[in-house]
Amino acid sequence: MRRGLTLCVCVLAVAMLLSTGWAKEPTIRIGINAPLTGDIPKVGEGTKFAAQLWLEDIKAAGGITVGKKKHPVELIIEDNESKAESAVKVTTKMITEDDILIMVGPQASKQAVPAAGIANNYKTPMITPWSTNPDSTKDKPYVFRACFLDPFQGPVVANFISKEFKFKKAAVLYDVASDYPKGLAEFFRKAWEDINGKGSVVAYESFTTKDTDFSSQLTKIINSGAQVLFTPQYYNEVALIVQQAHQLGWKKPIVGSDSWGSAETIKLCGKDCYGQFFSTHYAAAGATGETKKFIDRYKAKYGYVPDDVAALTWDAMLLAQQAIQSTGALSGDLKKDRDNVRNALSQVKKFQGITGEMTFAGKNDPSKCAVIVKISDAGEFTYYKSVCP
């Protein structure tokens, strides 16, 4: 017993001695809150890869230069399992345990909304690259996003279809159980009826997450006399919907939203998706400048063309970097630094991202343009036109 106690005291004494000699350059820690497992692992993978690509650049430069000092950077990548509960745990952990300066993610709104609440409570800046739900940033001064919102995207698509095809009757097919498709479907319907008059959405059909047979809804849509089908779904459902529509004899265009913009869409959907349109954040095929550089590097390293999540994450990382740099100097007091980064972020003007130009100017949502993409006959996402607010 006595020996144990002496040992304990000795170790503690040594520990104290060692601890006095502890001093190190302040590292900038950036949290990446990504769905690496769960329903949408591809989204998590894209997030992780883009962030790691960014880290390579920073490492090559020896760190982020703030003021005159070079700070080393560490990424804290955590898996939120695509669950709201885990996103909250991960966010709390990153902020209180890992002492992050800023967090990038979560991506999907159902994790981004609760995580944003936590980040805002702890006064830690957060950028969600992909969440288009207005609630993510509403009344949360510390939360920003790198994409446009659904209330903007809905009218963009409606305007595009009316002007491009001169159609008067549209059908909508969406997942009633998932907040993103449901929200976007509502915004689209409102915008479409504003343009083409009441009743111009001739079929407004829904299904529930993980449904795989859409034939009854599609039959109704075909019989309704609609000229175009709008379906704001994720890649796995897009493939099924488009293929089944074609099997049932639908020959008119099918238009989608930014959730189509995954590399998996073409893999699963194949020729059926060729020639369709969707609105999104950027077009990979035919890109120029920085965008092309990013795509080429990503493709060379990971073997496939990055989807919009990866591109938006890249932009979010650069936004974070720019905000950190424009604080002038890091004090080492995390609370103060986080406040400074937040203030710097809200002042960002004309940020040249690979998904377009972004301006926050005091707001938490950027004003930026949407891109309409056409899926080419080679299965590539080609730039068709840009729509700005």
């Binding site: 503690l12 104290m16 060692l18 497992t37 955590e78 159902k110 609440g117 997450t209």
Partner: protein, 427 residues
């Protein structure tokens, strides 16, 4: 090494003399040491800061730091708990003996208070710990209430996430509607300051709504025996989810946010204690024994004058009530609910906790809920491999202990808190 055997034997003998009170004192000592010396020690052994969950996270992320994290855990937890436990054993035994002579509530409250104080100090080190603890305690409530149906009653119910959702939404509507977003009911009913006092009422309302939902499942399915309950309850789960998704006043699939932050660690702890206490008493009562009889042979139980239908109904509604309360707490810990949370995945998690911990067992439910929650949290850095390791563990448990780790064991406060007199412990 001829010397080792007697030494470990002696150590074991010393440990076996330590009563629960002694262990609690040891834990208290450990968390106090961590609170005041933890940071220095962590830096001293080369860790950046106090490891949040026993250093497992650090070990998995930076394998080079394994010895450091291990040393920290040993020095901060294992050593003080062992030393203080053994050192205070004679004293603790005498105190426990004195306490046990008083009415049983007194020693129980003393032990719980000691336990809570250590937990509170441990959680004070980081908010992350507090969050994990709160969610773990809620998992204990859920697992225990499901064990009443799947373990004690021997039925197979799949609607627990549904009950949880009912509780979560009901409690959220009450708190958000009355105290946060006054526009929901259109009128300003109650003053803001009353909120925290009315929180228990909101939770109870959630529990009651869940029990009413359970009635909908129970009435048709308890007419017969067999797989009907599993199927009907599964259907119920989907119905609840779809209904909430289509209710615009709770914001449909977008989910409700903005719940007030009233579910702190003390609140969740109190509710968990209440839940464990009532369920433990319930399963040890005549009604609980009647449930066991029905599980083993319904016809025989009926012949022995057990009102089988009523017993099953009461058990089912009781379990649903606690699932509803747990759901209400869950919503206020996350401060956000969406219907997608209460799906098949949640069901799988609760079922895993029940079957991993042990059927028909209060101990087992606690063990299952705590171990699965903590494993899930600690193994997070492994990403996809986590989902291989945890199911694998479950399979191993099913093979080697088909009824779960600690099956068929209720809490008996008296034997648990009894002093453990060693050979030299005196009378």
């Amino acid at each position: 090494m001829p010397d080792t055997m007697p030494k470990t034997g002696k150590l074991r003998a010393a440990f076996s003399r330590v009563p629960l009170l002694g262990w609690l004192l040891g834990i208290l000592a450990a968390v106090v040491i961590e609170k005041y010396l933890g940071t220095d020690l962590a830096l001293g052994v080369g860790l950046p800061k106090i490891p949040a969950l026993f250093g497992i996270d650090i070990m998995l992320k930076k394998p080079l730091l394994v010895p450091n994290a291990f040393l920290y855990t040993l020095l901060i937890y294992a050593l003080p708990v062992g030393v203080v436990g053994v050192a205070t054993a004679p004293l603790a035994n005498r105190a426990a003996a004195a306490l046990i002579r008083l009415p049983i509530t007194v020693p129980v409250i003393v032990h719980l208070a000691l336990f809570y104080v250590s937990m509170h100090l441990w959680a004070e080190v980081s908010d992350y710990r507090a969050l994990v603890l709160r969610l773990t305690l809620i998992a204990v409530m859920l697992t225990l209430s499901l064990n009443v149906i799947n373990g004690y009653m021997g039925e197979f119910s799949c609607s627990h996430p549904g009950f949880m959702a009912l509780g979560a939404y009901c409690a959220s509507v009450v708190t958000v509607g009355l105290f946060v977003d006054k526009g929901m009911f259109g009128i300003d009913l109650l003053p803001e300051g009353m909120g925290p006092f009315l929180f228990p009422v909101a939770l109870l309302a959630g529990g009651v709504l869940a029990a009413v939902g359970a009635l909908v499942v129970a009435v048709p399915s308890f007419r017969t025996r067999g797989d009907y309950l599993a199927i009907i309850s599964l259907a119920f789960l989907f119905i609840v989810k779809s209904v909430i998704e289509n209710l615009e006043f709770v914001r449909g699939p977008r989910g409700m946010s903005g719940q007030p932050d009233w579910a702190g660690l003390p609140t969740v702890f109190l509710w968990t204690v209440l839940c464990v206490w009532t369920i433990n008493n319930y399963v040890r009562s005549t009604l609980g024994k009647a449930m066991n009889a029905i599980r083993d042979n319904e016809l025989a139980a009926d012949a022995m004058t057990v009102d089988t239908r009523r017993t099953k109904m009461v058990g089912f509604l009781f379990a649903a009530f606690w699932a509803g309360v747990a759901g209400g707490l869950f919503a206020h810990v996350l401060r956000y609910v969406n219907p997608g949370t209460f799906g098949i995945q949640q069901l799988a998690e609760v079922l895993a906790m029940v079957y991993f911990g042990g059927l028909n067992s209060v101990y087992g439910s606690i063990v299952g809920a705590v171990s699965i929650s903590m494993l899930g949290e600690a193994l997070r850095p492994l990403e996809i491999f986590k989902w291989i390791i945890i199911p694998l563990l479950l399979i191993l448990v099913m093979i080697y202990r088909p009824t779960g780790l600690v099956a068929f064991k209720d809490l008996d406060a008296e034997s648990l808190l009894r002093p453990k007199q060693g050979p030299d412990g005196g009378a």
